[in-house]
């Protein structure tokens, strides 16, 4: 090369390097959830959109943080979730996995993330074991959990007079955890669990189990399942005259997409606990409108998708404050910084990895009360963050003992 070429090459090289910040952080976020099965509407593509919105709202590009988002379908199987997570962590340099509904899949990814020293922000899964015996220094359980649901819906139904319970439980980690936590609440409040039946997950026909629930004579039939299992159970309970005959149905985990599928005619009166509702206040309304425009199917966001936004946003803030993407340092920073966003309001991340924020007891409106599409909930009460989640010393989390 002649001298002019050398000078030009050197100039070009120096210009290229000054175009980027010297200490750029490159982050790869993996959104792992159900994209084709019964939990696809409550998480699915919506969670990917929520993550993308968080990256944009945070202004990652201007702050020298380059974020790439990848996504995959775990089909509600822990073995598939494990395989994808392993490939992401080992071969594709993914730094943080978010969402992961289906508690058995979340427990598998939780263990793998702890092993690999990577951040795991759970929004979709419910089992309170994630901040209990399975807790670790790089996992944060964001949106809700089985203890909070039991404490919200379970306690409310016992206080309304439902003193005998029969459980219809999905036979896997989530159902067992929800049944266990709700039974504890019922018994502590002076009620009694008269029976339980475990149905294969996922199921389609629940008539046999509902008949057993009816024969038990319990005043409340607790549905310890979710998604399509819950909607099928509720539809078939109405068909067999169970609700008309006086037994109450407790939908322990109901998402707004389930209420939409059931229709207000069938779902009216259902009491449920959630941490987010699109129509709660101006902040949630504004964000939900942007989300719905991006998603394009007409669906409003569920609390799981809102949780993905909130957790990714807080994660990016912590990365900026800590100046690194090292998993333990970032999670420690996430626990140090209080959280605040228009979706969940003020909150914090506890030492055991539990994110706390206010919860709400909702009741599904009657068709007359509803003023338009997706206008489904009326707020019965607010459960303050300090009381909404299991006290840290009761969880058997190794980090806080």
């Amino acid at each position: 090369m002649n001298r002019t070429g050398l000078v030009l090459a050197a100039l070009a090289a120096s210009m290229m390097s000054s175009a980027a910040y010297a200490n750029d952080i490159n982050i790869k976020i993996g959104v792992l959830n159900d994209r084709s099965g019964l939990y696809a509407d409550l998480s699915g593509e919506g969670s990917v959109i929520a993550a993308r919105m968080a990256v944009e709202d945070f202004g990652a590009a201007e702050k020298g943080i380059n974020v790439e988002i990848v996504s995959a379908d775990h089909q509600n199987r822990p073995d598939v979730a494990s395989t994808v997570a392993r490939q992401w962590y080992d071969e594709e340099n993914v730094d943080v996995i978010v969402d992961v509904p289906t508690s058995s899949a979340a427990l598998a990814v939780n263990e793998l993330s702890a092993e690999r020293g990577k951040v795991f922000l759970v929004s979709g899964a419910a089992t309170s074991d994630l901040t209990g015996p399975a807790c670790n220094a790089t996992t944060i359980h964001w949106t809700y959990d089985t203890w909070a649901l039991a404490n919200g819906t379970g306690r409310a139904m016992v206080e309304q007079g439902g003193d005998t319970w029969f459980f219809l439980t999905a036979d896997y980690a989530f159902g067992h955890a929800l049944e266990r936590d709700t039974s504890a609440v019922v018994e502590e409040a002076g009620g009694q669990v008269v029976g339980t039946v475990r149905h294969p997950f996922p199921g389609q026909d629940f008539s046999s189990f509902l008949l057993q629930a009816q024969a038990s004579g319990a005043s409340v039939i607790g549905l310890a399942n979710a998604g399509g299992d819950t909607t099928n159970s509720i539809m078939q309970a109405a068909e067999f005259g169970i609700t008309q005959a006086g037994q109450a149905l407790a939908g322990l985990l109901v998402f707004i997409t389930d209420v939409n599928a059931l229709g207000l005619e069938t779902a009216q009166g259902l009491v449920l606990t959630e941490s987010f509702y699109w129509d709660l206040n101006d902040g949630t309304r504004e964000w939900s409108q942007r989300f719905a425009d991006e998603l394009g199917t007409g669906n409003k966001p569920t609390m799981v998708q809102a949780g993905v936004y909130s957790s990714v946003l807080h994660y990016l803030k912590a990365v900026e404050a800590a100046g690194t993407k090292d998993a333990e340092e970032v999670v420690a920073m996430m626990k140090e910084m209080p959280t605040d966003d228009p979706l969940f309001g003020p909150g914090e991340v506890r030492a055991d990895g539990r994110k706390i924020h206010d919860l709400y007891l909702f009741r599904v409106k009657t068709p007359d009360q509803s003023e338009g599409p997706w206008d489904y909930y009326e707020t019965l009460s607010t459960i303050p963050a300090a009381q909404a989640f299991r006290p840290m010393d009761e969880g058997n989390c190794p980090l806080v003992q």
Partner: protein, 295 residues
């Protein structure tokens, strides 16, 4: 004696009746599969998707055209059956001379496509479809409350299943069909239009699946995945009954529905698995199936 089993006789009869109702879905779906396999030698994995299409067309007829359930009962099987005929003419007929496996792969791929497209457009949570008012409500039978709609399901399935068996085994048309599949060349030499019969048979099998879908629409969550789990169980039923035996499919369908119902009472966690355990046992003892004939 019943107290020893931990259940009252009334509760047991109630569960058996529910098992019979589930059995009618298995019987109708496995009948369609058995016809298609027995007469056409095609392993039709699209069957679950076609059952789901029957339910979707029922919903679409109401949602877009305002046509009630009673219109959907004849129309949905016709529409889905016609789509089945198109599939047969365009795709499946090219595979008759090949190994069974190609038909299986093709129909499985078609099922995935159909489910994926509908999931993209309608989501997975389910579409609302109520029980028609003429069939709502129920009867108190003493040992249980039987919804009228569930009684309707049993009646329709029994009529359709045994009607089909009668046509195939006892009438001249059925004889032509059975001859055409046993020896197409010779039957064609007698002047019968064999390709037409094959096409119509596939269409009829698909229409049976769609009819099961119409029956399922008001009581099961109407979503693109509704056939995906069911089809695997139905294949097990067909294998147990004997691939190609019409009566075997019907009797096994109802019988396995009863056994599944009993399992739901005594060991509910295993109710999804019991049919496959039985299939494994039957395959070990009598590989051709309970009613099957070794070729």
């Amino acid at each position: 004696m019943f107290e020893l089993l931990g259940i009252t006789p009334q509760a047991l009869f109630g569960q058996l009746l529910l098992g019979l109702i589930n059995g009618s879905f298995y019987a109708m779906l496995s009948l369609g599969l058995a016809i298609i396999f027995g007469l056409l030698n095609i392993i039709n994995f699209t069957h679950g998707a076609q059952y789901m299409l029957g339910a979707f067309v029922t919903w679409a007829l109401l949602h877009y055209f305002g046509l009630s359930y009673w219109w959907a009962l004849p129309l949905a099987p016709l529409i889905v059956g016609a789509s089945g005929i198109v599939i047969e003419k365009v795709f499946i007929s090219r595979l008759y001379h090949l190994d069974h496996l190609y038909g299986l792969l093709l129909t499985f791929g078609l099922a995935l496509i159909i489910q994926g497209v509908l999931r993209n457009n309608y989501g997975i949570s389910g579409l609302p479809y109520s029980i028609p008012p003429e069939l709502s409500g129920g009867q108190n039978l003493g040992f249980m409350f039987l919804p009228n709609y569930r009684a309707w399901i049993i009646v329709v399935s029994v009529i359709v299943c045994f009607g089909t068996w009668f046509v195939i085994e006892k009438t001249r048309l059925g004889a032509y069909l059975r001859a055409a599949t046993e020896n197409p060349t010779l039957t064609g030499a007698f002047g019968l239009n064999v390709p037409l019969m094959i096409t119509l048979t596939y269409g009829f099998g698909v229409a049976l699946a769609a009819l099961a879908g119409v029956l399922a629409a008001p009581i099961y969550s109407l979503n693109p995945n509704m056939g995906a789990e069911l089809i695997i169980v139905v294949f097990a039923v067909v294998v147990i009954g004997g691939m190609g035996s019409i009566l075997g499919a019907i009797v096994t369908g109802f019988g396995l529905g009863l056994i599944e119902g009993l399992t739901r009472v005594f060991y509910p966690e295993g109710s999804a698995v019991v049919i496959f355990v039985i299939m494994a046992i039957v395959l070990l003892i009598k590989p051709a199936g309970l009613f099957g004939r070794t070729a």
